[in-house]
C-alpha cells in the first residue's frame, strides 16, 4: 500500500470519528473538544499524505483526481478548524466531517492517484500558486456552502415551527449562521482572488480553461457577496446562492478534468 493511502485511511477514520463525536456532543453525551481533536488529527494526516505526494511530484500535488480531492478535503478541514474556533460553530463539524470523508473516500478509490507520478522538470511558480490558492479557496467556499445547507435546514424548521428531534437545539442561531456564511465565503473569495491573479501571471497553455472558469466563479461570488454586504440579502437567498455557486463551479471543474 502506498504511503499516502495509509495516511488518508487514518485521516478518514479520524474525520468520521470527529463527525460522530460532534453529533454525540450535540445529543448531550460527549465533550465538544473530541470533535475538534478528531478533525485536527485528520488535518495532520492529510498534511502527511499531501507532503508525500508533493515529494513524489516535485511540485504542488494537484495533478490527479485523488490529489485534488485530498487537497480539497485538507482545505475544508483547515477552514473548519479556523472557523470552528472563531465562531464556535462546532456543530459545523457534524456537517463538514461527512463531506471530508466523502472527498477522501473518492481519493481512496483505486486509480484516483497516479501510481507512478512523473517528477516535474521545471516549476512555474505562478501556476503552482494558481492551483494551490484556487483549491484552498474552494475549501472555504465549500465550508460556506455547508453552512448554507445548515442554514436551510434550520430556517425550514424554524419557519415550519418544527422543533422536535433536537437538531434545532444543537444548531447555531440563524444570525450566527448567516454571519458565518458571509464571512467564510468572503475569506474564500479573497483567497480565490490570489489564485486568479496568480493564474493571470502564469505561462499560457492548457490551464487557460481553468483560469477562465476560476475568473467567472470569482465574478459570480463577487456579485453575490457585494449584494449581501452593500444592499443586504435574506439569509435564505445567500445560502441558496452559495450552495448553487459552489455546486456549479465544482461540476464545471470536474468536467474540465
Amino acid at each position: 500500500m502506498a504511503m499516502e493511502i495509509g495516511w488518508i485511511v487514518i485521516a478518514t477514520i479520524l474525520a468520521a470519528a470527529g463527525g460522530v463525536f460532534g453529533w454525540r456532543f450535540h445529543k448531550g453525551g460527549q465533550s465538544r473538544h473530541l470533535a475538534f481533536w478528531g478533525m485536527a488529527g485528520a488535518f495532520a494526516c492529510q498534511l502527511m499524505a499531501l507532503g508525500w505526494r508533493g515529494e513524489l511530484r516535485g511540485q504542488c500535488p494537484l495533478s490527479d483526481i485523488g490529489e485534488i480531492c485530498l487537497f480539497l478535503a485538507w482545505s475544508l478541514t483547515f477552514f473548519y478548524l479556523v472557523t470552528g474556533t472563531t465562531y464556535r460553530l462546532s456543530f459545523l463539524g457534524v456537517f463538514t466531517a461527512p463531506v471530508v470523508v466523502i472527498l477522501q473516500g473518492i481519493a481512496l478509490i483505486p486509480g484516483s492517484f497516479d501510481a507512478s507520478p512523473t517528477q516535474a522538470d521545471t516549476i512555474d511558480a505562478w501556476r503552482e500558486a494558481h492551483a494551490a490558492f484556487s483549491v484552498l479557496s474552494y475549501g472555504a467556499l465549500a465550508l460556506a456552502a455547508v453552512a448554507g445547507v445548515m442554514f436551510m435546514i434550520l430556517n425550514r424548521r424554524l419557519k415550519r415551527h418544527d422543533f422536535k428531534g433536537g437538531l434545532v437545539d444543537g444548531m447555531p442561531s440563524v444570525h450566527r449562521l448567516v454571519n458565518a456564511m458571509a464571512r467564510i465565503a468572503l475569506v474564500g473569495w479573497i483567497v480565490l482572488t490570489i489564485g486568479v491573479v496568480s493564474g493571470g501571471m502564469m505561462d499560457g497553455g492548457k490551464m487557460i480553461a481553468h483560469l477562465l472558469v476560476a475568473t467567472v466563479t470569482w465574478v459570480l461570488y463577487a456579485v453575490l457577496l457585494g449584494v449581501y454586504f452593500v444592499r443586504g440579502l435574506p439569509g435564505r437567498q445567500l445560502a441558496i446562492g452559495l450552495i448553487i455557486l459552489f455546486a456549479l463551479s465544482l461540476i464545471v471543474f470536474a468536467k474540465l478534468g
Binding site: L158, K159, H161, F163, V168, P172, S173, V174, H175, R176, V178, R231, G232, L233, P234, G235, R236, Q237
Partner: protein, 337 residues
C-alpha cells in the same frame, strides 16, 4: 433525636391559607428564634416562599408533630380546619422531600431554579442565627450538592414552560444572544409586560412600547425601562427592531405584510422575529411568508411550553434515583442511622 418536616404548599392549601403562613424576611428571623425557644426543638430552618412554608426541625424524643403543628398555628393565629392542609415527613422522607423541594421537583413550575436560592437563603439565615447544628448542617449541604447534580445530570430545568419563556427561547434561536437587540411591544397588557421583561432579562437593551392609548404605552414603558412610541408611527420604527411582541385587544390584524415589506430594504433583510400572543391574532399569518420573518402565534408558544413540561416530567424518575442514591451514600444523623 428526630428530623421532621412540617409544611404546606400550593398543592395542599389555598392562597388565603398560604398567605397566613407566609413570612417576611424579618418575621423569618423571629420565627427561627421562637422555634428554638419552644420545647424539645434543637435545630430549625424555616423556608417561606409564595407557594410554600416549611419547617425543618430536629426534635427530641417526646415532642411530636402535633405539638409543632399546634405551635405554628398558634403563632400564625390560624383557627381554620387543618385536615389536609399540612404535610408531615420524618427522618429519610423529610430529607428526600427537602431534596425534591431544592431541585424544583415540588414547585408549581416543575424544575424552576429560584427555589434553590430560596432554600439556600433559608438555611443561611438559620446558620447565621446559630439555629443549625450537626444534623441540619449536614443535611442542607448534602441537599445543595443533590440539587446541583439534578440540575447538571437531568433535563428537569430544560426548555421554557411559559409563553414568555418560549418567546425568549425562539428569539435566542434566531439571534443567539439577545444582548443589544431591540424589542417592539405592540399593546400594553400584562402578557406584553411579562414577555418584554423576559427578553430584557436575557439582554435585550432597548424596548419600545406602542399602544392605541398612548398613556398606557408610557405607563408600561416607564415600568420596564423602555420608551413609548405613538401608535401612528410604529411602522417606521420597525426598521430598527429585532423582535416584535404583539398583544393588543384589536379584533383585526394590526401588523400586515405591507408594514414589513416597506422596511425590508432599510433593515437590509435582517432576521425579524414576531411573536403574536393576542387572541384574536394581531399579525397577519402572511407576514410569516416573508423570508427573513419568523412568526409564532400563541398556539405554537403554548405547544412549546407544554412539550417542555412533558420533557421535564419524564425526568422525574431520574431525579428520584439521584436523590435516593445521594441519601444512601451520605452519613446523615437522624436520617439514615
Amino acid at each position: 433525636m428526630k428530623l421532621v418536616c412540617l409544611g404546606l404548599n400550593h398543592e395542599t392549601a389555598p392562597v388565603e391559607v398560604r398567605e397566613r403562613f407566609a413570612l417576611s424576611e424579618k418575621a423569618l428571623d423571629r420565627e427561627v428564634v421562637s422555634l428554638l425557644e419552644s420545647k424539645d426543638i434543637e435545630e430549625g430552618v424555616v423556608l417561606s416562599t409564595c407557594n410554600r412554608t416549611e419547617y425543618y426541625a430536629v426534635v427530641n424524643g417526646g415532642s411530636g408533630v402535633d405539638e409543632l403543628e399546634s405551635w405554628i398555628c398558634e403563632q400564625r393565629e390560624f383557627h381554620g380546619p387543618r385536615e389536609g392542609v399540612f404535610y408531615f415527613y420524618e427522618a429519610r422522607e423529610a430529607a428526600e422531600h427537602l431534596c425534591r423541594v431544592a431541585s424544583g421537583m415540588n414547585s408549581m413550575v416543575l424544575g424552576e431554579t429560584e427555589i434553590f436560592g430560596q432554600v439556600k437563603k433559608a438555611y443561611q439565615r438559620s446558620l447565621d442565627g446559630k439555629a443549625t447544628k450537626g444534623v441540619l448542617n449536614r443535611l442542607f449541604q448534602r441537599t445543595f450538592s443533590v440539587g446541583k447534580r439534578v440540575r447538571n445530570q437531568t433535563g428537569i430545568q430544560e426548555g421554557a414552560t411559559s409563553v414568555a419563556g418560549a418567546s425568549v427561547e425562539l428569539a435566542e434561536k434566531v439571534f443567539g444572544r439577545l444582548k443589544g437587540s431591540t424589542v417592539m411591544v405592540i399593546g400594553a397588557g400584562e402578557m406584553s409586560r411579562q414577555t418584554a421583561q423576559a427578553l430584557q432579562s436575557r439582554g435585550a437593551s432597548s424596548v419600545m412600547v406602542t399602544n392605541r392609548s398612548y398613556d398606557k404605552a408610557v405607563e408600561l414603558a416607564e415600568s420596564i425601562g423602555g420608551h413609548a412610541v405613538h401608535f401612528d408611527s410604529w411602522e417606521t420604527e420597525l426598521k430598527d427592531v429585532d423582535v416584535v411582541i404583539a398583544a393588543t385587544g384589536a379584533p383585526h390584524f394590526v401588523v400586515k405584510p405591507g408594514h414589513v415589506e416597506a422596511v425590508r430594504r432599510k433593515r437590509k433583510f435582517r432576521p425579524l422575529i414576531m411573536v403574536d400572543i393576542a387572541v384574536p391574532r394581531d399579525i397577519d399569518p402572511e407576514v410569516g411568508e416573508i423570508e427573513e420573518v419568523y412568526l409564532y402565534d400563541i398556539d405554537t408558544l403554548q405547544e412549546m411550553a407544554n412539550e417542555a413540561r412533558k420533557r421535564r416530567e419524564k425526568q422525574l424518575l431520574l431525579c428520584e434515583e439521584i436523590i435516593r442514591e445521594e441519601i444512601d451514600k451520605a452519613v446523615l444523623p437522624a436520617v439514615n442511622d
